[in-house]
Symmetry: none
C-alpha cells in the first residue's frame, strides 16, 4: 500500500497513483469533481444527519448529554438538506463505476430523504440494512422507544447494473452457513477503538465502529478495489479499507479530522491473505422478553402463573405484565413483591400449569430462544 498523503490541490484529473489512499481536503462536491469519472468501486457515505435538536437534554442524574451540535450538522430546512443531498449524490454517482455500489448510513432524521433522493437520481436500491446497536443510548425521558438502530441503504448505480460485487458465499460462510440477513448486530464505537484527543475528549462525535465497515467492505468489494468516503471524518472507512487490502479515497473539510485520520490509518497494518479469508462473526445470546412468549403463542393472556409451591399466583395480561392481588408489573417485579423481597428472577420463580404439573416459564424462554437462533436472531 502506498504511503499516506494529503492532497490540498488536485486541479486536474490525476493518474490513479496520485489520489489513491489519500484524503482530499475541501468541500465534498468540489473535491469529487476533481476525481475522474467512473473511477471508484464502492462508496461509503456517512453524511450529516440533520438532527433538529431544541434545547439541552439531561440524564436522570442531571448530567448533560453531549449532543451532536456541530455546525456541519445544521441545515436551514428540509429543502436545504435535500439540495445538499442531491448535490453530493450526483457528484458521487459521476465517479462511481457503472457496476459500482454505494452505501449511505443515516437515522430516521435524514435517511428517508436520502433514500428518496437516491431513487430520484436513478440509484437502484439493493437492500436496506439495519445496524442494531448492542449498547445504544437510552431514551432518558421515557417518551419514545429506545432508538436502538441506524439504517444503511445499499444501492447500485442504476437498475440495469447487474454485475455489481456481492460476496454472497463469504457472507453466508461468516453467518454459520445461512444467508446473511439485512439486520446486523454490532456495538457502538467505544473503548480503545474510539479516537480521543489529548484531553480525553472524543475526536469525532459520530465515529463508526470498524466492525460495521468491515462487513460492508467484505460483502461488497474485492481486494484491490477503490473505496470512496465523501464524509471521511475520523477515517474509519480508510482504516478498514487499508486493513482489508482495499484502496481508499477520502474527502474531508476539517483539518482536525484529517490529522487524526492520517495518524490512525498510518498505524493500520494490512491483513495477509490468509487472515482475510477466514474472518467470521460471532453472535450474542439473544434476549427474550416475556411478552414475546405471548406473541409466539407459547403463553396466553389470562393464564395463571404460580410459584413452585403454589403459595402465590398471578395472571398474565395482554401487554406482557403480571397482576396479582396487590401489585402489577413485570414477572420480576411481581415475583419480588409477593415474596416481600427486593428482587426476584421471574423466569425461574414463576411456573405454568401443564398436565396438572408446574413447569418454570424459563422452559418456554428456552424454546423461544431456540426459535430465535434458528432464524438468525
Amino acid at each position: 500500500m502506498s504511503a499516506l498523503r494529503l492532497l490540498d490541490d488536485l486541479s486536474h484529473a490525476a493518474p490513479a497513483a496520485q489520489w489513491l489512499d489519500t484524503i482530499l481536503k475541501g468541500d465534498c462536491v468540489a473535491a469529487l469533481e476533481r476525481l475522474p469519472e467512473k473511477s471508484v468501486d464502492v462508496i461509503f457515505a456517512d453524511p450529516p444527519y440533520n438532527l433538529q435538536l431544541d434545547g439541552d437534554l439531561h440524564r436522570p442524574d442531571q448530567s448533560k448529554v453531549d449532543a451532536v451540535d456541530d455546525a456541519w450538522d445544521q441545515f436551514e430546512s428540509f429543502a436545504a438538506y435535500d439540495a445538499f443531498t442531491r448535490a453530493w449524490l450526483l457528484a458521487a454517482r459521476r465517479v462511481l463505476k457503472p457496476n459500482g455500489t454505494i452505501w449511505v448510513i443515516g437515522s430516521y432524521h435524514n435517511i428517508f430523504r436520502v433514500g428518496a433522493t437516491m431513487q430520484d437520481l436513478g440509484f437502484w436500491i439493493l437492500n436496506d440494512v439495519v445496524w442494531r446497536k448492542t449498547n445504544p443510548m437510552p431514551n432518558f425521558r421515557g417518551r419514545r422507544f429506545q432508538n436502538a438502530h441506524e439504517t444503511m441503504i445499499w444501492a447500485s448505480r442504476d437498475a440495469k447494473a447487474k454485475s455489481y460485487t456481492f460476496n454472497y458465499e463469504a457472507m453466508k460462510a461468516a453467518n454459520d452457513d445461512v444467508q446473511m440477513r439485512s439486520d446486523w448486530l454490532f456495538p457502538i464505537c467505544t473503548g480503545a477503538e474510539r479516537l480521543k484527543d489529548e484531553n480525553g475528549a472524543k475526536v469525532h462525535p459520530t465515529q463508526k465502529p470498524e466492525a460495521l465497515l468491515a462487513r460492508v467492505l467484505l460483502s461488497s468489494s474485492k481486494p484491490g478495489d477503490v473505496v470512496l468516503d465523501p464524509f471521511f471524518g475520523s477515517g474509519t472507512t480508510g482504516a478498514v479499507a487499508k486493513r482489508l487490502g482495499r484502496h481508499f479515497v477520502g474527502v474531508e473539510r476539517e483539518q482536525a479530522y484529517i490529522d487524526a485520520a492520517l495518524d490512525r490509518i498510518s498505524a493500520v497494518r494490512p491483513l495477509g491473505e490468509a487472515e482475510l479469508s477466514v474472518m467470521t462473526s460471532k453472535r450474542a445470546e439473544p434476549r427474550v422478553a416475556f411478552v414475546s412468549l405471548l406473541d409466539s403463542g407459547l403463553m396466553k393472556p389470562g393464564a395463571t402463573l404460580y410459584d413452585a409451591k403454589r403459595r402465590w399466583s398471578a395472571r398474565v395480561r395482554a401487554d406482557g405484565t403480571l397482576t396479582s392481588d396487590a401489585v402489577s408489573g413485570s414477572i420480576h417485579k411481581v415475583g419480588a413483591a409477593v415474596q416481600g423481597l427486593d428482587a426476584c428472577n421471574g423466569w425461574t420463580f414463576w411456573h405454568y400449569e401443564r398436565n396438572g404439573g408446574l413447569n418454570p416459564i424459563d422452559d418456554l424462554r428456552r424454546i423461544a430462544r431456540l426459535g430465535m437462533e434458528r432464524s438468525g436472531a
Copy 2:
C-alpha cells in the same frame, strides 16, 4: 362492542356510533373525507409498497414465487406514487386528533418516499421501528442480503404535539424491565392465523401478523381509543383492536377483502379488563404536595431531612418548605441547591430518619396517596 357493519354510503359526518367498528368501502381518500376531522386516536397504515418487479422469480427447485403483482400495487412512476402517498397522508392527517399518532409500514421500495412525504406534510417522526422477521423469505438468487425486515414509521401529527399516548411503563415491564427498543422480532403471518379461501389460497398477499399490531396498539393507544386503518385489507388491525378493547375504522376498496375481514373480526372475542389494564406511570398518579404530609401528621415541622448518604441535611418548616445552611424553598429547590444542580426530585432525594435508618420521603407520599384513595379525594 357494537356489531360489525359495512357502510357503503356515508355522505355526511356521522355520529360516532355510525362509523365506529365498521369498514368504509371505497377509495381511501374519498372515504376518509367522509369522516369527521380530528376523530381518530391512532392510524395504522399498510399502503401499497410499489414493488417494481420485472418478470417472474423462481426458487432453486424451479417453483415460481407467488409475487405481489396485484393491480393495486402498480404505479406509473415514483412521481405517481408520491402523489398517491401525499393524498392519502393529507386525508389521514385531517381525521387524526391533534395528539394522535400514525404508524406506516413499508419496505425499502416505498418507505423512503413515504417517510420524506410525511416530514414534508408536517408529521413529526417519533421513532422508526424495525420489524425483524424470524422467518423471512430467502434470497433465491444469492445476489443480495436476505431481506429480513420491514420498517415502520411512528409519528405525531406535528412537532409541537407532546401529549401523544405512549405506554412507556407497559412496554418496559413487558420487556424484562428495560426500555423497549426500536427493533422488534416477530414471525411473519403463517399457519392458522393466515386467512385462506376455499381453495386454500391466501386471501391477501401481505397479511400482517397480529402480534405486530398488538404491540403497536398496546404501546400507543388506550382502551376505548379509535384506530383507523386506511388500507384495511384482511382486517388485522380491526381484529387486534377489537381483541384489545379499542374501536376500529377501516377503509377498503375490494369486496373480497371486506368479506374476509368482517368474518374474521366477528369471530374475535375481546379480552377482559383484567388482562387489558396497562401499567401506569407515576406521571398519571395524583399529585401530593409536600405540605400535605404536615397536614396529615406524617411529617412534623422541625424534622431534619438528609440525603441518602447524610452528606446534606435540611429542616422542615411549618409551611412545607425546607431550609438548609444556605437556601430555603421547596424540597426540589433546596435539593438542587445543596448539590449545585439545576434540578432535583426532592421526593427521592430527601430522606427521613426512622429507627436510626433513612427512608425516602417518597414512602410517605405513597402512604398519603393511599389515604387519598380511601377517602375518594
